[in-house]
């Protein structure tokens, strides 16, 4: 959390770090508003990839030679940077995974080994499939029961209902920090404290919060926190699972293989200590090392500055979009990230998305991997424009103009 920068948010300088933002789509300048799916990457990150491969590419941890040493140092440096970024206590509490989905599956499998029939697991209505299906699979495997925290029409979780669900059978509570479909920012610290009252472990899906918020896992006091690099301006194929040391020590390993063992005989295998116990196989070395460049770059901008700028976009965009006739915004929580999920009266989200694409505007349409949430809202899907730190008010104007152009075509 070296988020002490107070430099003004120079949007042109920022955009110049993203070559892809210069490109045209269908003859128009790209307006990329699908950051909830994945963000673009600053040059510092892609340069770090090339530099890794051209100077120190090597397998890590097991080599006595120079390249392996250099690669291992750089690899472990990212672990330390990520630890600092989320304010974890120990760097070995940071486990590298493929991404949020892999992180959640890791916990669901390993924690699952401690779950007994009749135990209860609580998730929320706001969850992404990646934070639903692993728990369903676990409940089925172990005979546990899945409970769901309801929400109100603004997309705010019902705290009274949550309290009522918690009881001595509750072993785990899992929910996202920010909803990818509605933008709701959940009160993680408060909910975690409630869950801890019944000694339930708390797993947070941080896929959508890491790019937008200053996350402090010790302040939040969560037990696990799942992260994807690609959604926070980092490379694809890499993510992390933060876990409190005591939990990580208690859980059995998930995958078996190289790196994660201490000694192997055909009769008996003993496992390595943290973090290696949970990192079987050759890791995504390039991805880990290049991720550090994204983290450094975010910290130079300052997470607080990013949040503040994006909140401006949220305010501006909400007002601008509501000027469009027949537009309904889904997700109107008072505490919300810069994400607009909406529908146009009588029109199908898919038609809108298709035509906006013709105008170079990239939005996402559909259920956003939150089918139960869509069912709750009684819509088949929404149009989602999710902001990144490089989006501008002018781009929001372009979106609004685009909507005003395509809606009449469809009526």
């Amino acid at each position: 959390m070296s988020n002490t920068s107070t430099s003004p948010f120079d949007i042109e300088a920022i955009r110049s770090q993203f070559p892809v933002l210069e490109r045209e789509v269908n003859g128009r300048k790209l307006v990329y508003m699908d950051n909830g799916a994945t963000t673009h990457k600053p040059k510092a990150m892609t340069n770090a990839i090339t530099s890794y491969y051209e100077t120190i590419n090597s397998n890590v941890h097991r080599g006595v030679h120079h390249l392996s040493q250099r690669a291992t140092d750089a690899f472990e440096l990212t672990r330390e940077k990520l630890r600092a970024h989320i304010n974890a206590e120990h760097s070995y509490e940071v486990i590298f995974t493929k991404g949020t989905t892999d992180s959640i599956n890791t916990v669901a499998w390993s924690f699952g080994e401690l779950v007994k029939p009749g135990d209860e697991i609580i998730i929320s209505t706001l969850e992404h499939h990646s934070n639903i299906v692993p728990w369903q699979m676990l409940c089925e495997r172990k005979g546990a029961t899945l409970k769901v925290i309801p929400m109100d029409d603004h997309g705010v979780l019902d705290m009274e209902a949550f309290k009522a669900l918690l009881n001595e059978k509750t072993v785990l509570v899992a929910f996202n920090h920010i909803s990818n479909a509605l933008g709701t920012i959940n009160p993680v610290k408060e909910m975690t404290a409630l869950a801890h009252e019944v000694d339930a472990a708390v797993v947070i899906d941080g896929a959508q919060s890491m790019p937008h918020l200053n996350v402090d896992v010790r302040d939040l006091d969560v037990d696990f926190y799942a992260i994807s690099a690609h959604k926070m301006y980092g490379p694809t194929g890499i993510g992390a699972l933060y876990g409190k040391e005591e939990w990580l020590n208690k859980l059995p390993p998930y995958q078996g293989g190289g790196e994660m063992i201490d000694t192997v005989t055909f009769e008996k295998t003993t496992y390595a200590g943290l973090p290696h116990k949970f990192e079987a196989g050759t890791p995504h070395i390039e991805g880990v090392i290049a991720w550090a460049a994204s983290i450094d770059w975010l910290n130079e901008l300052g997470m607080e500055n990013i949040s503040a700028y994006e909140q401006e976009l949220l305010e501006y965009g909400t007002e601008a979009l509501l000027s469009v006739e027949g537009l309904k915004i889904h997700g109107t929580a008072p505490n919300k990230s810069a994400l607009f999920s909406f529908n146009i009266d009588g029109l199908h989200h898919y038609d809108i998305g298709t035509l906006l694409d013709q105008l170079g505007i990239a939005v996402r349409t559909g259920h956003h991997c939150t089918q139960p949430l869509m069912n709750r809202m009684e819509v088949p899907g929404t149009i989602r424009a999710s902001m990144g730190l490089y989006n501008t008010k002018e781009e929001i104007d372009t979106l609004v103009a685009g909507l005003n152009r395509v809606i009449p075509m469809l009526k």
Binding site: N26, G27, L347, H348, Y350, D351, T354, L355, D357, Q358, L359, T365, G366, P380, G381, M409, L410
Partner: protein, 142 residues
């Protein structure tokens, strides 16, 4: 609607050639969607749903022993326009003609290129399903 499939698809290609840009093509597709005759409500059932589309597509086929008649619907208007095109190309033809149909017009009018895989897969599923019906009628006949 009694020319050969080849003649019909040539017409479609000519028609799309007139449009300068893609917005105009979409405008046309949308109007085709709006003109698509309504499918009988009884056929808008799960069984007639085509997988692989972001929007929902219902496709029904009738066979009078000689020719196949397709009717369809979708909740998205662009998708509906695209089915309308497919129906215009393939409906009221013999099962054999449908099975054998060369559907390269889809590429020629640029649809495949301009549709994302999600959508293109929907189109592919649509074509597959139409040919599948034809094949089924053909084998019933044999």
């Amino acid at each position: 609607m009694s020319e050969s499939i080849a003649e019909r698809t040539d017409d479609i290609v000519d028609e799309f050639d007139m449009f300068e840009d893609w917005m105009d093509k979409y405008d046309h597709i949308i109007s085709l969607g709006k003109e698509l005759p309504l499918i009988d409500e009884q056929y808008k059932v799960e069984d007639n749903l085509i997988k692989g589309c972001q929007s929902r597509v219902w496709l029904h086929a009738d066979y009078d022993g000689e020719k196949v008649q397709f009717t369809a619907d979708s909740d998205a208007i662009i998708t509906k326009g695209i089915i309308a095109l497919m129906i215009r190309a393939l409906s009221d033809q013999t099962p054999q003609a449908i099975v054998d149909a060369d559907l390269s017009f889809v590429d020629q009018i640029g649809l495949k290129e301009h549709l994302s895989p999600t959508r293109a897969n929907g189109l592919v599923s649509m074509i597959k399903q139409m040919k599948f019906y034809a094949l089924a009628f053909q084998s019933k006949q044999a």
